[in-house]
Every structure is written in structure tokens, then in C-alpha cells.
Assembly symmetry: C2
Homo-oligomer: 371 residues x 2
């Protein structure tokens, strides 16, 4: 076979988000979104007030609720924007000075939790109730002994630190103060006990689909807070009262999310996702740990993210060579976040075993060539 | 030919938004967004920090600036959310009490301008500087004699009232106070002299593409206002400093917008859009005006929207019959907004002459059957 007829080499996208979508979703998406139906409209062209879109929205909500087992006293919202919008919405919606809820509590587990608390600090005093040590190996903040002041409107954790590669091994006890989680980069990667949280949010560009959409799951009692300062479009209560349609929602992104929820259901649900994600992460972390120090993982066992696997070359000067050679081998977007450097492979639900196997094979070969 | 082999009858979608996209964009979108490239990623899967997306963003910005002739001292932003987000962002970003800008000015031209001013009133005192009469035939607020108080941070108009079907025939003179326009439903329907405005915003689901994205064109001097109250993701200055990428932008929607901008350019630009839109609107308004009172248009000549054509049946009891029969004839989403009733045909750039011709033919036939 002539070289120009060679089959295209497999290429793998390890980006942290927007990130790889399931093959089956990509295969369906064009027709599902862009082919016109009997009403002369494709999904992207349908009015958000009509039955066509409202059925998609209801299906997305019901399917997500079924996947997670969302209790009846929670509401599922599909909102425009990303997690950064939630960073402001949390204090704006949940503070309630008239009821004595004047402060907010945050745990510092890494880059994104600090970004979240910096934004919250613009609206209220922040009580930092736990910190990760910062020394190697990295861990999530210790879970014992959280003293959450009772005048805090909520206590915020970042369930999985996308940049740092740190995940909580379990959830803290915050007593009467509602626990709020940024679950962006671990959402739908495994079962999650929603009942432990007052509010969970996740921007969509990891395990849900496109950017520009954020899922919020909020306990109904929190919707009774006054939200005096929140812009209407950013008010949980108003959006919940209108089923996320106070204003035109991102209909295309919600439609894509529904396709992803379908795929997760068809693939065995969150138990199957968790099993596959554990297997993929174990394969990659084992390759790192068994490299005799050529590669190192900065995060301690038990605190390692299954979705965002961080590692470094012992000789950091090889990092650029690694990235160049990896790209040439069809392994893309492996550069670590600029704040922490090194390398990162994001292994969301849509990354198949074959992608991780290709990375592990390359890493072994690279180590042999440069060890 | 057996009946079940008959070619599908043409169907037309007259929804006010999300709305019809150009055929050529729909035809390209699936491959452009969902087919993977050499880096193993489809456009929807690419990181927003990488060269792939940044080229799409720069192309979208440059092409839009070229279409409109945006002057150099303006910035073009692509932000998550809809016009409702802008309703809050305007006062949050542009008020500057320390510089004496304590109030905001609004003109009341109909439904959406009132929604905009209601939201602004949560943040500052609103000076209503002009009102439409409210009596038939409807007009935009009169343009002479606008007394805009100098302590107003801006003066807001709704350039085209999507619900009421009213469009300004020209722009008011607001003196030293920056004129701000909600151009959502007329944006890119015709040339626009950006230099007359301090800020123009348009949510995308009319002439740009998908919902969940809003274009903002803002004069650079307005970015120097303090924006103390704005959530970071909703801060014009911060988003401008990061080229709309302070946080993950709606990459899929921006990519689609770029495809639409390409299509407008290839189709002759905004002069050609204006010519086609004038032709389509004239065809429909002529059918209404020549119906001997069977159909009536509530908006006065010179103030009629070319993009959102409102009309009523003289016998309002026929409205439901009209909608049912129209749908059976392949003419969809013609119901007027619930606040005003009647009928509405939205004729955005992507609606071809053939769609309007089909509607006009149906209207004549319906009038013959029920006159």
C-alpha cells in the first residue's frame, strides 16, 4: 500500500475541557441537531417555547435525574455560562444577612477552589475551613475537624481539582451548613450521593458535552433564600420557577447534553462509568508509578483524580520533547495547566481504553529512548 | 407516483428565535463541528485555550467587524448567555456613581425595552426619556426632543421590538450620554453605523445562530468604568482583556456564528441582506395591506419591523383556525407572542423569498375561504 493510502493513524485528545465526546454522540449529533423535520425546523432552529424543545429539556432533566438518583426535593437546572458564573451566583443567591447568613465557607483544595473563593470574597467574608497541605505528595484537605461557622450561607468544596489533579476521597461533614460542590470535572464519572449536598454544579464541557452550559442540582429549601443581589438570569429561584427558561436557554447545548445522558444510560450508567474510569486511571497511574522515577505523579494515593491525571518528567527539560513526540504519535493536548506545569491526561467518560493504552505505550517507549 | 412516494412538501419555520438558519450553514455544520481532525478532536472537543479554537474566535471577530465596519476603538465580545444577561450587565458595568453616573436612561418602545428597564431598576433609578404612544397604529417613540439627564450612565433603546414588531426608523441623539442598543432581532439584517453607539448587544438566536451566545460591541472608553458590582464572568472589561476567554466561552456556538458570518459575507454582506429583507417584508406587508381589512398590521408605516412582521385577523376568532391550517400547509410557528396575541412571521436573513411567497399564497387562499 502506498504511503499516502495508509489508514489514518488513531489520534487521541486528552484535553481537560472542552474535551472528547463519545463516538456515538458525535455520530448522531449532526443529524439530531441540524436536519430539518416535518415542521421545517432543525433542533437548533426550534423555538425554546415550543413543544419540540420542551420535550428535549424534560427528557434531559429526567434522564440526568435517573442517572444520579436525584431525590425529589432537588431541582435540576440547565443554565447558560460556565462554572465561573456559579462562582458569583453562589454568594449572590445564597447569602441571607437578614437570617444571619452573612459569610461563606470554602475549603482550599487547589487552583479552582481558590478562584471560586476569590470571586465569593467580592460579595462576603470568606471563612477558609480547610486547606490542602501544598507539600508533596499533594492531598485533598483533611476531612476531619471541619469547623464551619453557623453564620455561613454554605460550605464550598471543589470535588475534583482539574488543574491540580486532586480529588476528595470522601465528603466532609459540614453539619447544618449546606455543602456545595463544584463537581465540574468529575460529574457523571461515578455515582454521587446527591443527598449529601445542598447544591452541586458542573459546567458541561467535561462529561456532559459542549461549553456554555452548566448543570445545577439544588435542594429546594435553598431556593427560598432572597437572592436580592442576583441578576435575574442568574437567579436560581427565578430559573427554577421557569424550568430553566426564564430567558432563552442554550438549546443546542442542552440537546447535546441529552444525547450524552442517553449514551451514559445505554452504556450501563454511572456504575459502568466509574468502573471504566477506575480501570483507565489505574492503567495510567501504574505506568507512572512503575517507571522507576522517570515519570512522577505529584498527588498521593487515595487523592488522585481519575479524570485528570497529572504527572511530571523527572527531568523537566524533557517536557517539551515529550509533548512534541506525543503529538507526532497522535497523542494531543497533554500539556499541564500553566499554573502547575508538567503533563496532564484527562480521561473523561468518552476516552476509551485504547486511548489510554496508546498513551501508556508511548510513555514506555519515550522512557526507553530518554531514560 | 404513489402517495407515499410524493416528495416532501416544503415546510417553513417562522419562529422568532431560535430561528431558521441558512441552508448552507446547516449543510456545513455537522462536518464543521462534529468530524474529528488530525489532532483527534472535533471542533466541539477542542480546548478553548488551543490554537484551533483561538483561530475560530479570531476569524469570527474579524469577519463580524468587517461586515459591520466596526471602528478600531470598539471591542467585539462573544459572551455566554442571552440578552437577559445584558439587561443586568449594563447597569452593573456602566454605572459609575463616583463619577456622577448614578442613573440610567431608557426609552419605552414595547415589551423588551420594558423588560430591560425593569431589570435595570434593580440597580439604579431609571429615567424614562421617551415612550411609544401605545395607541394604534403603533410607532417607535418619537425621536425629537430626548432630554437625557447628564447623570445617566447610558441611554438604552431596543432597536427592534421582537414582540411588538416595531423598529426605530432612525437613531435618537442622546448627546454626551452613550447610546446603548439591544439590537438582538435586527442585528446583521442591514448595515448599522456602529459609531453612533456606545454599546450594541445582540443575542445570537436570531441572525447569528444558536442560543446561549450574545455578541457585544463596546466602545473602549466604556471599558474604563469600574464595574464594581459585576460578576467577573459578566464584566465587560475583564472579558475584553481576555478576548472573551476569561472563562470557557461557548465554543460550539461561536463556531456556528463564524459559519453564519461566512455565509453573510458570501451572500453579499449586509447591503444584500438589507435588500432581501426589505423585499421579503414588503411582500408580506403588501399582502396584509391589500387584504381589504381581512388582515391588519398594527404598526405604522415607517416603524414596521422588517424582521418581525406582526398582523391580526380582523375576526380574531379565526386566529386558531389560521394557525392550524397554516401548519397543515407547512407554515409553522406563526403564533404571536402571548403578550400581544395575533400572528407574527419572523423573516430573518435565513428565510428565503420562497418561504414568504408560500405564506402570502396561503394568506390569500385563507382570506378567500373565510372572507
Amino acid at each position: 500500500m502506498a504511503q499516502h493510502d495508509a489508514p489514518a493513524k488513531a489520534a487521541w485528545n486528552f484535553a481537560a475541557g472542552p474535551a472528547r465526546l463519545p463516538d456515538a454522540v458525535l455520530a448522531r449529533a449532526g443529524a439530531a441537531l441540524f436536519e430539518r423535520g416535518a415542521d421545517g425546523a432543525a433542533a437548533i432552529e426550534r423555538p425554546f417555547t415550543g413543544a419540540g424543545f420542551r420535550e428535549v429539556l424534560a427528557d434531559a432533566r429526567q434522564r440526568l435525574a435517573a442517572l444520579l438518583g436525584v431525590p425529589d426535593h432537588y431541582r435540576v437546572l440547565f443554565l447558560a455560562g460556565g462554572a465561573m458564573h456559579q462562582f458569583s451566583m453562589l454568594p449572590m443567591n445564597l447569602l441571607d444577612p437578614a437570617s444571619g447568613l452573612r459569610r461563606v465557607a470554602y475549603a482550599d483544595s487547589g487552583y479552582w477552589s481558590r478562584r471560586a473563593m476569590q470571586e465569593a470574597a467580592r460579595y462576603a467574608e470568606v471563612a477558609v475551613v480547610a486547606r490542602h497541605a501544598g507539600a508533596l505528595p499533594l492531598t485533598a484537605p483533611p476531612l476531619d475537624d471541619w469547623q464551619v461557622p453557623p453564620d455561613c450561607a454554605y460550605c464550598h468544596i471543589t470535588a475534583n481539582e482539574t488543574v491540580d489533579g486532586i480529588a476528595y476521597p470522601a465528603w466532609p461533614n459540614t453539619g447544618a451548613v449546606p455543602l456545595v460542590a463544584d463537581a465540574t470535572s468529575c460529574f457523571l464519572s461515578a455515582p454521587l450521593d446527591v443527598s449529601k449536598f445542598g447544591l452541586i454544579y458542573a459546567s458541561a464541557q467535561k462529561n456532559i458535552g459542549p461549553s456554555g452550559l452548566t448543570v445545577v442540582i439544588v435542594r429546594e429549601d435553598l431556593l427560598r433564600r432572597p437572592a436580592l443581589a442576583a441578576p435575574s438570569a442568574l437567579c436560581y429561584r427565578l430559573q427554577a420557577a421557569q424550568d430553566s427558561c426564564l430567558n432563552t436557554p442554550p438549546t443546542l447545548a442542552i440537546h447535546l447534553a441529552a444525547l450524552v445522558f442517553d449514551w451514559i444510560s445505554e452504556s450501563g450508567g454511572l456504575v459502568a462509568m466509574a468502573s471504566a474510569n477506575r480501570r483507565k486511571a489505574d492503567l495510567l497511574y501504574s505506568a507512572i508509578d512503575s517507571s522507576q522515577g522517570f515519570y512522577t505523579a505529584p498527588v498521593a494515593h487515595g487523592h488522585r483524580s481519575t479524570t485528570n491525571v497529572r504527572f511530571h518528567l523527572a527531568d523537566e527539560r524533557l517536557t517539551e520533547v515529550f509533548l512534541t513526540d506525543a503529538a507526532a504519535a497522535g497523542l494531543h493536548h497533554l500539556r499541564g495547566h500553566r499554573q502547575v506545569g508538567g503533563l496532564r491526561a484527562s480521561l473523561y467518560n468518552a476516552m476509551p481504553d485504547a486511548g489510554v493504552a496508546a498513551l501508556v505505550d508511548f510513555m514506555a517507549e519515550f522512557a526507553r529512548g530518554h531514560g
